[in-house]
Amino acid sequence: MFLLLPFDSLIVNLLGISLTVLFTLLLVFIIVPAIFGVSFGIRKLYMKTLLKIFAWATLRMERGAKEKNHQLYKPYTNGIIAKDPTSLEEEIKEIRRSGSSKALDNTPEFELSDIFYFCRKGMETIMDDEVTKRFSAEELESWNLLSRTNYNFQYISLRLTVLWGLGVLIRYCFLLPLRIALAFTGISLLVVGTTMVGYLPSGRFKEFLSKHVHLMCYRICVRALTAIITYHDRKNRPRNGGLCVANHTSPIDVIILASDGYYAMVGQVHGGLLGVIQRAMVKACPHVWFERSEVKDRHLVAKRLTEHVQDKSKLPILIFPEGTCINNTSVMMFKKGSFEIGATVYPVAIKYDPQFGDAFWNSSKYGMVTYLLRMMTSWAIVCSVWYLPPMTREADEDAVHFANRVKSAIARQGGLVDLLWDGGLKREKVKDTFKEEQQKLYSKMIVGNHEDRSRS
């Protein structure tokens, strides 16, 4: 038997009603603008408030660190070792010269000391190399009140801890359920909407409806992630019969781009929820989905893409040529397949601001569901999208060169480092051709001498 205060049930009822009202109001405030594509500016206000709070938090930490007389900021590391810029030839010659016991005109062909250059270079790369750095999340220089990014900062006072605790409460108890509700709404509307549109006869009306259903659902998903996106140069947006090419950081890229434009997607057929969404979408408008077995067949893929692109009534294709997710500090090698089909390429650069939440999907560390939960419990996802002017392959240019040109343009616009390395290195080994280059250079040095000798 427990004592119930007389107005206990009243309080519970009131609480229940007010929560429901609050939730509904929020949903209305968020979904209705999404349907019509307008924005109240709530998210921008939210972002400004957050920035002010972060600035205050950083100031407190600086003060705290100064009081304790410690260094707060870890030194800016762009690599931990100093690499000598001297070339292979110079260095080997220098070492040989310093072995002064031999007469200089009697230059030997091979010296015991030659091994030294390669040995040292090997050590340097083991200690620090460019490529592996790209595959872990970018480190922040200030703390954004998320414990998952608290690598270097320890000087947290009581006030900051309270603030952080409040942040946790808000993010997990208020924002997360809201976002999940929105995501659920968005996805179910997409599936239901596209299926219904699929029953209509083909024509202008169907296309119009399909476009708006797609856009509306993607906008709801954008709000489900609290993504604050700034679009630049919207006049360069991709048109029918073109190929939209962008750098890839996470699966969210698709949602970000598709909420501002109507694209045909390309991808592998999945099972589960994603498969249901894919099948529904293709009823409303032609997307290009490949079976798992077809993906390996490059000619088939190229053929289907070419067919799609040549039909001017079909939508621009959205494709991510890096093939895998990179941590948004650089752009890796673009696979040449999509650049061979001869369509106009509309490059798009996407750059995330890591201060509000790290959008990079480290697929070897987190699964998809864990990743989405992390996204939904961050403060927000802030990014900038630049639509670059269209590019076409020139007459005497090969696909690889064209791909690199597009890649440089994207890297330059987004402020990312343009790397020649293959994003697939995350999983595979370097091809043997690269190793051969270095060996050829050295052997040219040695054999050059050998041939001179035998000739004289």
Partner: protein, 197 residues
């Protein structure tokens, strides 16, 4: 080894990156360093990390896996010479570094670099070039070995067999070359960058 705690922390982070957050590294973990693939003597370098002679664990053989301490031990062969070191310490340092290189050549740990082992190194270094036949690589190695022999033993009788380069001979060959000033990896002097947003 006089390395600052900052540098040790960074090396530890690097170790964890290479080992995939495991406490030890195996040979396979070095496959994740793409730049290393460019190196023609990659196999020998990786092997040097597991060589018991370099790890100071025995006269021969290879370890299966190495811990962070072992990693630091190998890295210590590449520490720069401190200006505060006296002559004896510099000489000691030099010997250590040269011993590391000697172990790279002497793969069967018998204390001598035989003609076979020498040829093996030259072939690896030259293997990338398809235009060099195995014969040329061999003759280059043979020629170099003869030069080395002449430095160590002087003039040889026609039927005298040269067994191989011992460590003392190795030291003789490297005389005059300031290897200790070149065989090091220097840490960047980190300066804080002003925090601007």
């Amino acid at each position: 080894m006089r390395v600052s705690s900052d540098q040790i922390e960074q090396l530890h982070r690097r170790f964890k990156q290479l080992s995939g957050d495991q406490p030890t590294i195996r040979k396979e973990n070095f496959n994740s360093v793409p730049d290393l693939e460019l190196n023609p003597i990659r196999a020998k370098i990786v092997r040097a990390f597991f060589d018991n002679r370099n790890l100071r664990k025995g006269p021969s053989g290879l370890a299966e896996e190495i811990s962070f301490e072992d990693f630091l031990t190998i890295m210590s062969y590449f520490r720069p010479i401190d200006i505060s070191m006296d002559e004896e310490q510099v000489e000691q340092c030099r010997k250590e570094k040269l011993r590391f290189l000697f172990h790279m050549y002497d793969s069967d740990s018998d204390g001598r670099i035989t003609l076979e082992e020498y040829r093996n190194v030259v072939e690896e270094l030259l293997s990338g070039n398809p235009h060099i036949e195995k014969e040329s690589a061999r003759s280059i190695a043979d020629g170099a070995m003869m030069e080395a022999a002449s430095v160590c033993v002087g003039q040889m009788e026609p039927d005298q067999v040269y067994e191989g380069i011992t460590f003392e001979d190795f030291l003789k060959i490297w005389q005059g070359i300031d290897i200790e000033t070149k065989m090091h990896v220097r840490f960047l002097n980190m300066e804080t960058i002003a925090f601007c947003h």
